[in-house]
């Protein structure tokens, strides 16, 4: 009997202790703690989009107010209305679409050449130390040579056709991409490799089936980032020597002081970049559902 009593009393702890009941009510209870300002707090999607839109709108307003203020000659800072009118005119003209197509093709070809070399070389540099020693210091060195400074040499080597433009994009993105890919591969936790080894995987199986697979989402993200630079270098190349393309057109407009048209092209470059960036992100999330891409 006595043991059961003891057990009962030991189990009876539902009553809150006195000290707890006597505590003053917690005034902050129920209030969100710092809310959206908590460090690394995630935002509801709708709020995120609204804030992003607010950023664009404030930039637009700043531009509008600047143009209205009269401090600048409207030739240099045209009002949004003038730019919008110009845009409508340009969109109906085939030149704009040709320019987009030309620049787009240059970016695609240059960037594909770059990725085709950078991904395998980066993969091996991140996997095997001898490859890293061979490739990485050299790459770091070349990376610090300003790419536009290479234009004269590229023109001497490849003439003034399409090849020097592709090569400029290649040079501008390849060296960055190699390093980023190698870093992604190095970031793969060693135990993932060791598990494969203890299961009997050969080195080539580890590269193909573990390192390559595990690095894919990161490599894809590196492509997204590098691809942005490709657009910078295509414009640089076209500013120097070209007969068409977005960069060439901007230079031509500037010779005739057609600033509204320049603005249209600049905004267009931003829109293309942003759209491709979003496309890359979406594709990444879709292709690599297994990875927690929200952390990127």
């Amino acid at each position: 009997m006595s043991t059961t009593k003891l057990e009962m009393s030991a189990l009876k702890v539902k009553e809150p202790p006195v000290a707890y009941a006597a505590r003053p009510p917690d005034t902050d209870a129920g209030k969100p703690n710092h809310g959206i300002w908590r460090i690394r707090q995630t935002l509801p999607r709708r709020l995120y989009v609204s804030l992003a839109a607010a950023g664009f709108i404030s930039a637009f307003l700043a531009w509008w107010i600047t143009s209205l203020s009269g401090h600048f000659d409207p030739i240099f800072v045209p009002s949004p209305a003038v730019v919008a009118q110009t845009a409508i005119g340009l969109v109906q003209d085939s030149t704009l679409w040709n320019d987009i197509g030309t620049s787009f093709m240059r970016v695609v070809i240059g960037f594909v050449i770059s990725a085709v070399f950078a991904i395998p070389i980066g993969l091996f540099a991140g996997t095997f130390r001898p490859v890293e020693a061979l490739v990485q210091p050299l790459t770091e060195f070349v990376r610090y040579i300003p790419v536009p400074a290479l234009i004269p040499i590229l023109m001497v080597l490849f003439g003034i056709g399409e090849t020097p433009k592709w090569m400029l994009i290649f040079v501008g993105t390849y060296f960055q991409l190699v390093l980023m890919v190698a870093d992604e591969v190095r970031r793969i936790p060693l135990p993932l490799v060791q598990v494969a080894q203890t299961l009997g995987a050969t080195p080539s199986e580890i590269v193909n089936r573990v390192l390559w697979r595990a690095a894919m989402p990161g490599i894809f993200d590196a492509l997204r980032l590098c691809h942005g630079w490709a657009w910078t270098y295509v414009v640089v190349a076209e500013l120097v020597a070209a007969n068409e393309g977005l960069g060439f057109r901007i230079l031509k407009f500037s010779r005739f002081l057609q600033t509204p048209k320049i603005w249209v092209y600049l905004i267009l470059l931003g829109v293309i970049g942003l759209a491709l960036d979003i496309a890359f992100r979406r594709l990444n999330a879709r292709l690599f559902r297994w990875a927690d891409t929200t952390k990127r």
């Binding site: 936790p189 060791q194 080894q197 203890t198 299961l199 050969t202 595990a214 559902r289 297994w290």
Partner: protein, 279 residues
């Protein structure tokens, strides 16, 4: 059977030389469950990694069933402390991974037998409802279950486990310990288990090897007198508790002795230096 002979490991050279493991001998017999227990930095994990072939010994030899270990091989499966599932493969594909490798594709005779064994392991691990889940959808304990199943699938001669439950919460840890005992009874895989938890070591093992702090050495080889069909109830038995106490005391005493001798070394050398300076 594993035979470890004069196994030694040190890192660095000259003044930076760190002795991780002093020359060590031990055997692990077939079907045995042996735990290596000791404080952090005592060389027990280093020892396990050398058994796996993932680290090279500085001296000495390891033989598994008479064959000298030179590197990792499929005869020695391993479960790591952290989650090591391939995130792009679902649970079933992770467990099957070893069978898709060239070493196993060559000698595979009947394809269906592998799938049956995967099903059996899924069942044994309580994972039958999660066969199609991706690792990121699983809790830590579940992920470790998959990792164990993956290591067991090819029926390795020995299973090496490096603090596999170290990152789990206490309750999950106990569940996993019981699961491991169950697996042991079914699979009878020779197991070398590294942990710093004395209770866990005694509860799971046939034999416990106690390591001293750095430089690591085996200071005791204890036979655990409990049956294979033990349950967590034995943790409350006096025999269990006194065994646990004596291992803890052994570790503690050794730690103190080491510190004392190190202290004496340091004070003597400083006295020596002082004398030299005064001359």
């Amino acid at each position: 059977m594993i035979t470890v002979h004069q196994l030694e490991k040190h890192y660095g050279d000259g003044a930076q030389r760190v002795q991780a493991l002093t020359p060590t001998d031990f055997d692990v017999y077939s079907g045995e469950f042996v735990s290596l227990v000791g404080p952090s930095g005592c060389g027990k994990t280093t020892c396990l990694f050398m058994l796996a072939g993932l680290e090279q010994p500085s001296a000495g030899t390891i033989r598994h069933n008479g064959v000298t270990v030179h590197g990792p091989g499929k005869d020695r499966g391993m479960v790591f402390q952290n989650y090591t599932l391939y995130p792009w493969l679902n649970v079933r594909e992770n467990i099957r991974f070893s069978q898709t490798l060239r070493v196993n594709r060559k000698e595979r005779v009947v394809d269906d037998s592998v799938e049956y064994r995967i099903d059996a392991l899924l069942h044994l691990m309580g994972l039958e409802d999660f066969a199609d889940a991706l690792p990121r959808q699983l809790s830590g304990g579940m992920q470790q279950r998959v990792a164990i199943a993956r290591a067991l699938l090819p029926k390795p001669g020995v299973l090496l486990m490096d603090e596999p439950f170290g990152a789990l919460d206490a309750q999950t840890r106990e569940e996993m310990q019981e699961l491991l005992l169950l697996i042991n009874r079914v699979e009878r895989t020779t197991t070398v288990f590294v942990t710093h938890d004395v209770e866990e070591a005694i509860y799971l093992s046939n034999r416990v090897l106690v390591f001293s702090p750095r430089p690591g050495a085996i200071i005791a080889d204890i036979n655990i007198p409990f049956d294979a069909d033990r349950t967590s109830d034995i943790k409350l038995e006096p025999a269990f508790i006194s065994l646990k106490q004596s291992v803890k005391q052994l570790l503690h005493k050794n730690d103190q002795r080491n510190r004392l001798s190190r202290f004496e070394q340091l004070t003597q050398s400083s006295v020596g230096e002082a004398k030299v300076k005064s001359i």
